[in-house]
């Protein structure tokens, strides 16, 4: 029986782990991998105090090394169900393992949103990617499309420009949402074309992606582009599929978990939620880390008073 199980190994979960261990709590982290969305950060991180510029990869390594210095159990796995029972919580994983704990922390972050375009699911891993920083280097000298004209899309384009031949950025809206700074940076890249009013309709190919079809909403016309890669960057949705019992927590309209921001408690005693899965507006690494600290310190207090 663990004092706490942390579901997720992003900045929130890793910080909660460090703090919990320092409080002497018997802690297990279950995660598919470390880093969360930091692992998919296409450009260097410039707003984590103490590091003027650091890649997501390097910052994750530092978090992970720091965490592993403590007496923490780590299970690389996906959680399929979180249950409440009389003594606490039961966590079931994809590898058919079962773990018990007195308290649980949901730090599962977000899953990339899909466009719903025909062919998107079929071509995942065969040209469609949600992680430019993982797969981008494989597309050297190829033409690719980035779907989404926000900061994530523009930052992906900046990263991909180190490898690919041509980048099309498709934005559904008539205006680009990326920050002026990112727009200026992308403007300086050769062979990048920004297409607004573009609604992705279909991703086509035989074995691998060969082209995309989009609706030009301004001219009400279907157009196509020959590309080998399609990087989807239209945001994230809360990763809460393992919460099969919706009465465990309250959710907002975006399906983010509502918590008391003073201590990260959900409405279920002993159940906490932290990081990007929570309803806070500020989705930042430093905020996620702070959430982890708040939750772990409160859990220590909660367990003493139990």
């Amino acid at each position: 029986m663990y004092d706490l199980i942390i579901i997720g190994g992003g900045p929130a979960g890793m910080t909660a782990g460090i703090y919990a261990c320092r409080q002497g709590l018997k802690t297990l982290i279950i995660t598919k991998g470390f880093g969360g969305q930091m692992a998919q950060k296409s450009v260097e991180i410039e707003n984590y105090p103490g590091f003027e510029k650091i890649s997501g990869f390097d910052l994750i390594s530092r978090f992970e090394n720091h965490l592993r210095r403590h007496e923490v159990d780590i299970e690389i796995d996906s959680v399929i169900e979180l249950k409440k029972n009389n003594n606490g919580f039961l966590v079931l994983t994809k590898s058919n393992k079962e773990f018990k704990s007195k308290t649980a922390v949901i730090a599962s972050g977000g899953d990339p949103k899909s466009t719903g375009a025909s062919g998107e699911k079929e071509f995942v891993g065969r040209g469609v990617s949600y992680c430019p920083v993982c797969d981008g280097p494989l597309f050297s000298n190829k033409d690719v499309a980035v779907v989404g004209g926000g900061d994530a899309g523009f930052e992906s384009a900046l990263f991909l420009s180190n490898y690919v031949r041509k980048i099309y950025i498709l934005e559904y809206d008539s205006k680009i949402k990326a920050s002026p700074a990112n727009q200026a940076l992308v403007k300086n890249i050769k062979n990048t074309e920004i297409i607004t009013n573009a609604s992705l309709k279909e991703i086509k190919g035989k074995v691998l992606v060969e082209s995309i079809v989009y609706n030009d909403l301004k001219h009400n016309k279907e157009k196509s582009l020959d590309v080998s890669g399609v990087f989807i960057e239209i945001g994230y949705e809360p990763a809460t599929s393992f919460i099969l019992d919706p009465s465990l927590a309250d959710f907002n309209k975006k399906k983010e978990i509502k918590v008391n921001l003073d201590n990260m408690r959900t409405k279920t005693p002993g159940l906490y939620a932290i990081g990007d899965v929570v309803s806070g507006k500020c989705k930042q690494i430093v905020v996620a880390a702070a959430d982890g600290a708040r939750a772990a310190l409160d859990i220590s207090h909660y367990l003493k008073n139990e």
């Binding site: 598919k32 991998g33 470390f34 880093g35 930091m38 692992a39 890649s55 997501g56 990869f57 994750i60 390594s61 690389i76 796995d77 994809k94 590898s95 393992k97 995942v124 891993g125 065969r126 040209g127 990617s129 992680c131 920083v133 993982c134 797969d135 981008g136 280097p137 494989l138 597309f139 050297s140 490898y163 074995v207 691998l208 992606v209 080998s228 890669g229």
Partner: protein, 79 residues
């Protein structure tokens, strides 16, 4: 023979390699983005343009599919 196709910027590849090291599995680590021939080999064998891809005695596993990797490498984890 165990071979991991990865890219230098892929965190999930790093997690997979760390897992293999923890279980004392020797493996060849190849960067699929550096060498066109290695890239072609990975795509031909796996049908994938995505990393990590792991080859275990001729069998291909796409992504960090722990159950399948454990089965093929006979890794027994403690419950």
């Amino acid at each position: 023979m165990v071979k991991v196709y990865s890219t230098p910027t892929c965190v999930y590849c790093a997690t997979l390699k760390q897992y293999l090291k923890e279980h004392d599995i020797a493996f060849e680590d190849v960067d699929a983005s550096k060498d066109e021939a290695v890239f072609e080999e990975m795509v031909r064998k796996s049908g994938q343009m995505s990393v990590p891809v792991i080859e275990i005695n001729g069998e291909i596993v796409v992504g960090f599919d722990k159950e399948k990797i454990n089965e093929l490498l006979n890794i027994k984890e403690q419950q």
